[in-house]
Symmetry: C2
Subunit: 365 residues, 2 copies
Amino acid sequence: MSANTRNLGLPIHELETPALCIDLPAYRRNVARMVAFIHKHGLAWRPHMKGQKAVELAREAVNAGAIGVTCATVYEAETMAHGGVRNILIANQPAGERKLARLAGLQAVTPVLTATDSREHAAQLAAAANEAGAAIPVLIEVDVGMGRCGIAPGEPAVRLAEYIDSTTGLTFAGIMGWEGHVLAFEGEEKKKKIEESLALLTATAQAIRDAGFEVGIVSASGSGTFRLSSAVEGITEVQAGGGVFSDLSYEKWGLDHEFALTVLSRVISRPSATRIIVDAGFKSMSVQHGMPKPIGLGPVKKIVLSAEHGNIELEEPDTAHRVGNTVAFIPGYTDSTLCLHDEICVLTDGTLHAVWAIPGRTGRR
Amino acid sequence: MSANTRNLGLPIHELETPALCIDLPAYRRNVARMVAFIHKHGLAWRPHMKGQKAVELAREAVNAGAIGVTCATVYEAETMAHGGVRNILIANQPAGERKLARLAGLQAVTPVLTATDSREHAAQLAAAANEAGAAIPVLIEVDVGMGRCGIAPGEPAVRLAEYIDSTTGLTFAGIMGWEGHVLAFEGEEKKKKIEESLALLTATAQAIRDAGFEVGIVSASGSGTFRLSSAVEGITEVQAGGGVFSDLSYEKWGLDHEFALTVLSRVISRPSATRIIVDAGFKSMSVQHGMPKPIGLGPVKKIVLSAEHGNIELEEPDTAHRVGNTVAFIPGYTDSTLCLHDEICVLTDGTLHAVWAIPGRTGRR
């Protein structure tokens, strides 16, 4: 049990720090906007949980209209499946005999769609499935320009679909792609690049259909792209997840959602009138994709994060924040921040309403 | 229970990945070198556990000659105290009523030295101690140039010592400083800057003694400085901890220890002859202070880490690493990498010997 599970009903400034906090009404408004937007485009929403992890958040999304969830790891999928969530997709290529045995075993709880991008990997999935007497439904991941995982679009993907279809232990269910390489573009250029990327995906879906296979799922999109990619003809579902929280990175990538996730810290030292040292450093707030931003302070000159210290230098003197007072931060990137924590403090109107465990932590995949 | 606790006795390449692995003999050789060096200078060793966390590692250090341990948080100190470790120092200023109540309560298990750097903070420590009917032994943290926490050297520190000595609930035990701002310097310049910094600390100790107080402890030094700072007259103990593992940052900062901690990953995709995608991304390996370095690959052109993907671009084609094979990485910085994991796989001669929990995780402080 963590400290804050004892603190239900307390106002936010009395919580033990550092604490990862969710503003539940703001989160729900973000979710409602995402669902409405995606449904308006006739698409299904299968939000990525890699940056959310808590099974309560999966249930919230499903209650709001999601068809299921997307995961990055077998451990995340296990957590979701055992938590009663259904329609799970692992948008990644799990590897290793023991990991694949877990994945194959999980199919007995609920079918878990899994991505693959090579014969070599698909054969390993099939071996695990056959060993367990299971069938693993698979999506082919297509590289739409990201240059990470994914088979080349077109013919190579068609041949992989043929291989999957002919391989005992695997069921071909569709394809996916992730246009993450266009995140940083803006305006018309971003729209054009998304359309070009996803045209590779939808053309590949068509080529596989032309070869005689059903392509039930064409999955794509993250929170920094779905406002544009949802309009692309031929996509069937959207993986965008992080937009339920938003953060400074998503804002930079064009999303105007509310900041629903914050890190609460506490002042531990005031070495001078223009310096505030808080108890949240880089082990509480990621610096990946940019620094977190304190709320309610004057203009900030510089922030340096040590392991367990946040060192804030202000442009002007501050006498309001004393040792023991709290300072909340908007994360630079929620995905790399949430995974640093064991729990989420759920707040409604500034009061601790619940504490949700983050079971799909790193270190367990 | 994590996956790898089931895998005792297996060779490293069969472990579930990503896995944080310690080469136990290499770690022990590093520890032996640190102890010998510090003892040769007549100093005590109280290694910092913020980047080690596992209580087994604290016991290893104590068995090898450490007098106790240094911690960054109350939670780390609780873990150590309840794990039977004694002579604990929290080299930080814990704040908040509930946190300080825990700290005060912990004194009944074992005295836990705690840093303070202001009257305001010391008064809050005292209030918590008095509420619990306890006494908290404190060190004054002096800012020796780092510009983070710490009271100014000399007179301000003397006045704080007087305040502590006169305050019920607190016991004045000594002073500490951290010369972390000199890490990146080299050679004679580094030596000179360390001497200048620590002269501020030792002069402050003398000034406090001259005011009539006993200064039992003068604590300083990290793993990137202790080879030089151990020679400074007037220091009584060394906090250096990370050197037991070493990593690319410590190497850059002049330490020649063995790399005892690695992250084991597994190849999940081979999109081309010069690209290897592994299952360890920035949620398994920190990019703080520099990228991790894969072991046993040819020359690397570029590495990009996503959440759960490591995207390695090689200078030359590689056919040796297939999907399912393992690739180990030397961390860029072990302190920010270990805290991403729930457990350490302990290896001897490449075989899994034990799995140690990392209980002092972030999110619980």
